[in-house]
């Protein structure tokens, strides 16, 4: 830095700011010009023609330059603070209070919604928000075992989810087995696939492992699409039997739940039942994860994540350690998959694209790898935010009637992934509580821990 006092009292270099704003504007024009300024549309003869949108282009460029100038003036120009490296200390035990509160909230959520909105209006809120988010929390916790604890980057996690879903759908439809029999079976099948796929790839490390798991995920999806005799291809499987409460189905017949308990029939009962079912499954995942971390195998996973070579030299069998992590993670995906199939009643390969794997991985990494709380926060923020975009009808009043917020969901999702990484590269919760310690527990800040080559 040329000016020695600039660290304490920065002066504004208006020439430089103007120059940077100009460059930003030029780059934004070059980038957005063809995509925003011009639009390709098909005319009546199905030929592509170009139409212009100059006002929109000008507005966007103005916004980008404005943001850049704002940042130059007020954010980047601040005095550079010297970060104090605080000694790692045990933070205020938020978990002690948060966990019971959070659990209570989860148990009461359907009741609150029912009381607030009545039986008709609350299905959407319990189903789209409650169940949807809980599925992702469960998947996030399952993947957390593979990525967060064992440090194996898995980009094909959705394959095991698909295995669970298709196992339930096919076995229930063709052999008439009940949900409660098939739930463990789907988990076993998925973890079996986890071992089959895991065995050859676990010699690989880091990014290579990620790409191979991605390829496996795609292979499973493509087989589901192309092997029509087995999976009915793109058309998917419909009419999957719904789960029952100890043999009592949730339908309008005389033997249905409502009739047996003398209630008026309403689809809300099934939704609430499904809500508590996925809540139980998710909590099972969390409980198993927490318990496993205290077993030798869980500690071996964490050791593997930190340093594979050190792990091997200490006599840990890395192959079995990795395989158990893979299989355990896959098992929970299998549970979640069979729940998903039972909840939807319809599955098709569309539900198991790479995008889904990326979502789950994003939840784990953005939350902070290895942190159960981080997964919850990230799942609520990403999935809940994603669903909430559907509800933002008021934006139509701002941007006009033909503005559809849902089409921007995925766009914002991608941007949010980048933004959170830039803001907190180690995820929202990056401190680590060691499970094994001498005398007193010291939490470790994420920035002190280097990543192994898992």
């Amino acid at each position: 830095m040329a000016n020695p006092v600039s660290a304490a009292a920065p002066s504004l270099d208006y020439g430089r700011i103007a120059r940077e704003a100009l460059v930003t504007g030029l780059v934004a024009t070059a980038i957005l010009g063809p995509f925003i300024g011009l639009i390709t549309v098909q005319n009546m003869d199905h030929q592509l023609i170009l139409e212009t949108r100059w006002p929109l282009l000008a507005a966007l460029i103005a916004v980008i330059v404005g943001v850049r100038v704002f940042f130059s003036l007020f954010v980047w120009n601040r005095a550079v603070k010297i970060k104090k490296v605080a000694p790692a200390r045990v933070p205020f035990k938020i978990e002690r209070f948060a966990a019971p509160f959070f659990l209570g909230l989860l148990f009461c959520y359907p009741i609150f919604v029912l009381a607030g909105l009545g039986a008709g209006g609350s299905i959407k809120w319990i189903d789209n928000f409650g169940i949807q988010i809980l599925i992702y929390i469960m998947l996030g916790w399952g993947l957390n075992i593979v990525v967060g604890l064992a440090g194996l980057l898995d980009l094909g996690y959705v394959a095991f989810y698909a295995v669970g879903a298709y196992s339930y759908a096919l076995l229930a439809k063709n052999f008439g087995l009940s949900f409660w029999v098939l739930l463990p079976l789907a988990g076993i099948l998925a973890s079996f696939w986890g071992i089959i796929l895991g065995f050859p790839v676990l010699r690989l490390r880091g990014d290579y492992l990620a790409i191979v798991t991605l390829a496996f995920g795609e292979i499973i999806r493509l087989i589901l699409i192309n092997w029509v005799d087995f999976s009915n291809g793109y058309a998917g499987i419909s009419g999957i039997p719904r789960p029952t409460l100890f043999g009592i189905p949730f339908n309008a017949t005389d033997k249905g739940f409502a009739a047996v308990f003398g209630l008026e029939f309403s689809p809300i009962y099934r939704t609430i039942f499904l809500y508590y079912l996925i809540l139980a499954l998710a909590l099972l995942t969390a409980w198993v994860t927490v318990r496993l971390r205290h077993l030798p195998i869980g500690r071996a996973w964490e050791a593997l994540r930190e340093d594979e070579i050190a792990c091997r030299s200490l006599g840990i069998n890395t192959t079995t350690t990795k395989l158990t992590a893979f299989a355990t993670g896959a098992m929970f995906a299998g549970f979640a998959g069979s729940f998903f199939a039972a909840r939807q009643g319809f599955i098709s390969p569309e539900s198991f694209t790479f995008m889904e794997s990326a979502n789950i991985l994003a939840i784990v990494v953005l939350g902070g790898m290895g942190s159960l709380w981080g997964v919850v926060i990230a799942a609520v923020a990403l999935v809940g935010g994603f669903e909430l975009m559907r509800e933002m009808d008021f934006l139509k009043m701002v941007f006009g009637q033909d503005f559809d917020p849902t089409q921007y969901r995925t766009l914002l999702f991608g941007a949010a992934m980048v933004a959170i990484m830039l803001w907190k590269p180690r995820g929202l919760i990056s401190t680590r509580e060691p499970t094994a310690f001498l005398k007193v527990s010291k939490s470790v800040s994420g920035s002190h821990v280097s990543e192994g080559h898992g």
Binding site: I31, P34, F35, Q47, I211, V365, G414, R426, H453
Partner: protein, 305 residues
């Protein structure tokens, strides 16, 4: 035999496109050790730029000469895609350099999602067909049942790929920029001690990768005549497969890998079943990574403590 020859020609054409994309993966991996997940979508963006420029020139300006139109398309796609990738690197990857291992990968996955959806929102979700061009064919082998032909566009793809690859090879091997780039690949810290602007070199690597992806994008538009916002993912993964097959970090390896993947895909479709051609490509990726992770021309990785 005729079928074989014809598929060989088709396979080399497809393989050149994959090879061009694969170079972007292999260079970025070589210099910063990161799988640039968004590279396939950068390729898709370049194909869109090509379509838009093509329409701009043919419908608005009414230029009739297809050679002139394609030349301008190629140059503008290369320039604009380079700016795209430069900006992506600046925004999404540079701040994460030196951060932990997964951060740039997640950022790249986010960028990939962002790019394909940006194009979807900005240009609409429909396929974009352009008027077919360069459709004339030269018959190479005449037989009673099957004529082996090569179309003008295939010849053009071969020629442009060959010329640009030569230019690119020259750039990397003989210029000071190429030397700086290779130096950064070997040891970034040492290179910066010797006065190489590492940030600038990495930016330029992204720019070069994008320019070659843009060539592939224009070729893709010419060859298939239709572009869609979701076209980035599968060619991207296949090109990455090509880069891995050829030995990641090795430039000739990327080209050889691209040609191999193209040939395998085409022959698989011709002789087995077209349904499973993507499965074939992905299976090769898995098999290569398991049995020879260093690829054909790559150096074996040395494990250091």
């Amino acid at each position: 035999m005729e079928v074989f020859l014809q598929q060989l020609i088709n396979g080399i054409t497809l393989g050149s496109i994959y090879g061009l994309i694969a170079i972007g993966y292999t260079m970025v991996f070589g210099i910063i050790g990161m799988v640039n997940f968004a590279h396939g979508d950068v390729f898709m963006v370049s194909a869109f730029i090509a379509v838009i420029t093509f329409l701009l020139l043919t419908t608005w300006l009414g230029i009739g000469s297809i050679a002139v139109v394609l030349m301008i398309c190629l140059v503008s796609a290369m320039v604009l895609t380079s700016i795209w990738n430069w900006a992506i690197e600046r925004i999404a990857y540079r701040p994460l350099r030196g951060s932990f291992r997964l951060a740039p990968l997640i950022s790249a996955i986010g960028m990939s999602i962002f790019l394909s959806n940006f194009v979807q929102v900005a240009q609409g979700p429909r396929n974009k067909p352009v008027t077919p061009m360069l459709r004339d064919v030269i018959t190479l082998v005449k037989s009673d049942t099957y004529d082996v032909t090569i179309s003008y566009k295939q010849i053009m793809i071969w020629a442009v790929t060959a010329v640009l690859l030569f230019g690119f090879w020259y750039l990397v091997q003989k210029t000071s920029l190429g030397r700086a780039q290779r130096a950064c690949e070997q040891d970034r810290k040492m290179a910066s001690l010797l006065g190489i602007d590492v940030d600038r070199t990495i930016s330029l690597t992204f720019v070069m990768g994008a320019a070659l992806a843009a060539v592939a994008g224009v070729m893709y538009m010419v060859y298939y005549g239709v572009v869609s916002f979701s076209d980035g993912f599968t060619p991207g993964v296949k090109a990455f497969t090509a880069a891995v097959l050829g030995g990641i970090g090795s430039l000739p390896g990327a080209v050889i890998g691209g040609l191999l993947i193209g040939l395998i895909e085409v022959f698989w479709s011709a002789y087995f079943t077209i349904d499973y051609k993507d499965v074939a490509a992905f299976s090769i990726l898995v098999i290569v990574l398991i049995f020879m992770p260093q690829g054909i021309l790559g150096k074996p990785e040395v494990e250091k403590v």
